[in-house]
């Protein structure tokens, strides 16, 4: 948090993502994604305030915010049915064509660095209409000219069934939108600059003549996040909820 800021970086990012989510029916959040989870729950609270009763939010590691009863496959089946509107992906590397790499750097047979693996990306990236890429570390190490391994491509040939794909990339420095196979700088977060974004980005991207600053979360949004969302988060992300929002850890965290 900067001295003059009244919000934490995590709160800004969650607010940015909540706006990207928009008015949809169902947002699913995968493993180890506390900021997207905050954003999804925030979007749900916004929906409640507007009397919409949506979005449905599925936090995959949650007992409470997760309706699945058909086993670990149901998330993917649900996405295949077109019933998941927004999902989040990250990557050890992300390139300017929107390709994500969750596998390794160096050659595949003899990697230099090995990441955990592709998870569901090689499927969900194709079938979820709004995939929001999220990578806090914005550096030439993570945002590269070309990924070493394509876990999932940013775009596909015309004859490939692909109702889904990336719509944006959120980092600790800025927000990019994605369309027609390229990123475009949408806004730079408070305290960061366009020059700094260019300096730290390994791929080419488009940008408007004047790049706006990412708007700060409104006081009402901050209040909602801190008072209503944070306690819900604590079930799944007790450490994050405690560190960012100062919410106590419940007795049973399973």
């Amino acid at each position: 948090m900067n001295a003059e800021q009244t919000f934490r970086d995590e709160e800004l990012l969650a607010d940015v993502i909540a706006r990207l989510i928009g008015d949809v029916r169902h947002v699913a959040v995968g493993n180890a994604s506390p900021i997207p989870a905050t954003a999804a729950l925030l979007a749900r609270e916004h929906g409640k305030l507007q009397g919409l009763g949506r979005p449905y939010v599925s936090l995959l590691q949650s007992r409470k915010h997760n309706f699945f009863t058909d086993g670990a496959r149901e998330l993917f089946d649900c996405a295949g049915q077109g019933r998941i509107d927004v999902f989040f992906l990250s990557g050890g590397q992300i390139d300017g064509a929107g390709n994500v790499n969750l596998v390794s750097t160096g050659g595949y047979a003899h990697p230099k660095v090995r990441f955990p693996g592709s998870f569901g990306s090689a499927y969900l990236y194709y079938v979820v209409p709004k995939v929001i890429l999220f990578r806090v570390e914005h550096s030439r190490r993570t945002l590269v000219p070309k990924v070493d391994f394509i876990s999932a491509p940013g775009a596909s040939e015309k004859n490939v069934y692909r109702p889904g794909g990336p719509i944006a990339l959120v980092t600790n420095r800025c927000l990019f939108s994605f369309a027609n196979g390229r990123f475009r700088l949408t806004s730079v977060h408070p305290g960061h600059t366009v020059a700094e974004v260019i300096e730290n980005t390994g791929f080419d991207f488009d940008k408007p003549a004047t790049v706006p600053e990412t708007p700060a979360p409104s006081p009402a949004t901050l209040k909602l996040m801190r008072e209503t969302v944070a306690p819900q988060l604590a079930e799944v992300y007790p450490r994050f909820a405690a560190q960012v929002f100062g919410v106590g850890q419940p007795a049973f965290a399973g």
Binding site: G71, A72, R73, H110, K112, A122, Y123, V160
Partner: protein, 272 residues
């Protein structure tokens, strides 16, 4: 077919060197007590299928030298960081890696469950996941636009190994909402189960319990292993032991630390 409850080691007899073993993801009831018993026994050359991902279990088996081939979508310790023995083994080439994506593994097990040679799956086309899987085929769908689609060959494991809250004396196992455990059992030749406790009576007699029950017909052997998923969670029953997992991440960062971990927590049977 289910015969009778046995000792943990007896129950695991069907997991022989070189067999294909399918295990569930890190939060679905991971048979960790059984995993430690397999390491103590020194099982070798496993073709390990983690449906669809794994954490401590795959890392331990790999570090202990039990795995020849790993087929999964990801291995990590989640908030405790990368899985160190998995990472080292892939980089050194000590294991053969078959990278997949989660729904591909679910679909391939469902193919075996349904007795079909393959299942189609959307996605994948244009990815390097597909590029490095010679066993996956692409055809032009004979329906609609003749667009390309991936066909995944059925995965038919020799053994499915899982941990569940309870079983009865007829071999029926209550798995609740973790229905991929039923698919694993249907797909595998044999199924071995550890449970927290034995339920008196027949799980199939109560329609509410029956709805979450894997029938004993599919089950080869059962052993009781209290807190058998420790230090991983058993959904609705106990949480992960975060402190222990953090300790594991710390120790397993080096081969020496990992050896010490095995000594302390596996060979010494302290936590078996």
């Amino acid at each position: 077919m289910f015969q009778a409850a046995k000792s943990l080691d007896d129950a695991l007899a069907a997991i022989t060197d070189g067999c294909m073993l399918v295990v569930p993801r890190e939060v679905s009831g991971v048979p960790m007590a059984a995993t430690r018993a397999l390491i103590r026994r020194g099982v070798k050359r496993l073709h390990l299928v983690a449906l669809p991902t794994s954490s401590l279990q795959a890392d331990l088996l790999i570090g202990a030298g039990c795995v020849e081939t790993l087929e999964t979508s990801a291995v990590s310790l989640g908030e405790f960081g990368p899985a160190p023995r998995f990472t080292a083994a892939v980089i050194s080439g000590a294991i053969k890696m078959m990278d997949a994506t989660c729904p591909a593994l679910h679909a391939a097990l469902q193919a075996a469950e349904k007795g079909v040679p393959f299942m189609p799956l959307r996605g994948l086309i244009g990815s390097d996941v597909l590029k490095y899987r010679d066993d996956w085929k692409v055809i032009d769908s004979p329906f609609a636009n003749s667009d390309p689609i991936v066909l995944l060959p059925a995965i038919k494991p020799d053994v499915a190994l899982l941990h569940a809250p309870m079983a009865d004396r007829f071999g029926n196992v209550w798995i609740g909402r973790q229905r991929e455990l039923a698919t694993m059992a249907h797909a595998a030749d044999k199924t071995i189960v550890t449970v927290e406790k034995i339920h008196d009576g027949n799980l199939l007699d109560d329609p509410v319990l029956a709805a979450g029950t894997l029938p004993g017909f599919y089950v080869e052997s059962i052993a009781v292993a209290e807190r058998g998923a420790w230090p991983l969670p058993l959904p609705d029953y106990y949480a992960a032991d975060a402190e222990h997992l953090a300790e594991y991440a710390r120790m397993a960062a080096t081969p020496e630390g990992f050896a010490e971990y095995l000594e302390l927590y596996v060979y010494a049977k302290r936590a078996a």
